[in-house]
């Protein structure tokens, strides 16, 4: 059974239909990416899965259990974490407090264990444990946002535009970390505008256009697909 299964999802903001029939599956252990232009419905899809937006119709199942209409904080408890677009770290809290918020649904004992793993993965966070998140650089904030999401020990980690606004060298670093997280057992759903980077690390990808899934395939296939190359990879 797929870890996450989305079927014929429709989502709208008032009269505007943002998602018009998206379907995809994620198997345990995979990296799956959704690529597409601005407004294709990528972030809306993630926010809907996380429970922040209610879909008009369609099904979302996590390990076979429907999570449509489940409130966001309950979805986190079920093992699904979203690292949101724009990072949205708590700027007026320290690094340690941010990580602590990430483990809100877990016990203190669990958090004490998880935080060691997070610091191992992101040594820079340990160096800055007392610093206010708002004073950190974009790359550090992205690491904090990812570390924070990992604190809930998710089965599925959803990353919304993790490379947005970062210098190329940091983009590479973030993608290396995503691959490493995956190797250690976290299933990943990645939404990216940087399609070539995303496809190069993804097992499978789905191409979204104006709220629909128009193409899917392995990361490699899509990376070499003529239409995809023209539309998203600059030729």
């Amino acid at each position: 059974m797929a870890l996450l299964s989305v079927r014929d999802l429709h989502v709208s903001y008032g009269a505007i239909k943002a998602v018009r029939g998206i379907s995809f599956d994620i198997e345990r252990g995979e990296i799956v990416t959704l690529i597409g232009a601005n407004g294709a419905g990528k972030s809306t899809t993630l926010n809907t899965i996380a429970g922040l937006i209610k879909p008009d119709s369609g099904s979302i199942e996590l390990s076979g259990e429907s999570i449509v209409g489940v409130r966001p904080h309950k979805i986190v408890e079920k093992g699904l974490a979203l690292c949101p677009e724009g990072r949205r770290v708590f700027t007026r809290m320290s690094v340690a407090e941010n990580l602590d918020m990430g483990g809100y649904t877990r016990t203190d004992a669990e958090n004490a264990e998880t935080i060691k793993v997070v610091y191992e993965r992101f040594p820079r966070l340990r160096e800055r444990v007392g610093q206010f998140a708002g004073t950190m650089s974009g790359g550090e904030q992205q690491m904090l946002a990812m570390g924070r999401a990992l604190m809930s020990k998710p089965d599925l980690l959803m990353l919304d535009e993790p490379s947005m606004g970062l210098a190329p060298i940091l983009v590479q670093e973030i993608f290396d970390i995503i691959k490493e997280l995956n190797r250690q057992g976290t299933t990943i759903l990645l939404v990216e505008q940087n399609a070539s980077m995303a496809l190069s690390i993804a097992d499978r990808g789905y191409v979204l256009e104006v709220g629909r899934t128009v193409k899917s395939g392995s990361g490699k296939e899509l990376l070499h697909d003529d239409d995809v190359r023209k539309a998203y990879l600059g030729g």
Binding site: R71, P72, H73, A149
Partner: protein, 291 residues
């Protein structure tokens, strides 16, 4: 009237304003609402004390518990019934609703208890203590100590506990807080409960000092506390305390030099000056409207 007496008067009045301002500032901090019904919660708290002691003849300690608990419950109820349905509505709608709740409570109290003042019995038998040539009011001392302890407990709660961290997270970014697994509705309810419990404590301290309850007593008290919260920087807990004390001292000072009819005007003038010179208040953060 010696200097010491005046200082104590200022601290006592300022403490009550500070407690009420804390409630304003907490609710504003979490849902950006100026809860204009907050002053009226104090009025309800004073009536609960009156009912408990004067009508039912209960022990003052029970009256204290009932007032604080009743105010906390009322605060949560007001949020659930009047504000929660408007969580995604424009901020003006919820602000106007708050004014409506305020009128509702005032007129409700008038309907139930009548327009004339009820005398709240004394909570403690407290004669003044004479220190040198100064009369020190025991009630003033109680007020100051209770406020200091309440502020310390509140600061600990917000800074050091899991629930407090959740409150700060919701206050900064409600969406991100949800993604952390925080139940935002519970957190907001809790904030209303704490803020209103502080109003309940304020109601008791106010009743100790002035010993009467009227349906409209919350209006001026609430407005002054609102001034205090804005003065200190709305959203800031230490700011609310500093603002409360400043307003209290300003009033006592103006009265002490024989201009007591001017005390309200001075408080509001103070607000105008602060808003011109430092619009975010003394400890307020610069506001960044999120895009």
């Amino acid at each position: 009237m010696t200097f010491l007496t005046q200082v104590l008067n200022g601290l006592q009045l300022g403490s009550i304003y500070a407690l009420v301002a804390l409630g304003y500032t907490m609710v504003y901090g979490i849902i950006l609402l100026l809860n204009f019904a907050h002053g009226d919660i104090i009025m309800v708290g004073a009536y609960i004390s009156w009912v408990a002691m004067a009508s039912l003849g209960l022990h003052p300690a029970i009256a204290v518990v009932l007032s604080i608990g009743g105010c906390a419950l009322l605060g949560v109820l007001i949020d659930k019934v009047a504000y929660a349905p408007l969580r995604n509505a424009p901020r003006l709608s919820i602000l106007i609703t708050a004014i409506g709740v305020s009128y509702f409570l005032e007129n409700g109290a008038q309907l139930v208890f009548g327009a004339d003042a009820k005398v709240v019995p004394a909570f403690v038998d407290a004669p003044n203590i004479v220190v040198g040539d100064a009369h020190v009011s025991v009630i003033a001392v109680i007020t100051i100590v209770v406020t200091a302890v309440s502020t310390a407990v509140l600061t600990f709660l917000v800074q050091r506990t899991k629930l407090g961290r959740a409150m700060r997270a919701v206050s900064e970014d409600m969406g991100a807080a949800r993604l952390m697994g925080i139940n935002v509705n519970t957190t907001i309810s809790f904030t209303f409960a704490v803020g209103s419990a502080l109003a309940g404590i304020g109601a008791i301290l106010y009743s100790m000092a002035y010993a009467q309850a009227t349906p409209t007593m919350g209006i001026m008290l609430g407005t002054k506390a609102f001034v205090a919260a804005v003065l200190g920087g709305i959203g800031s807990i230490p700011g609310a305390v500093i603002g409360g004390l400043l307003v209290g001292f300003a009033e006592v000072l103006v009265s002490a030099i024989g201009l007591s009819v001017w005390k309200d005007a001075v408080v509001f003038a103070l607000l105008i000056i602060v808003l011109i010179v430092r619009p975010t208040g003394i400890l307020g953060r610069t506001m960044n409207e999120k895009v």
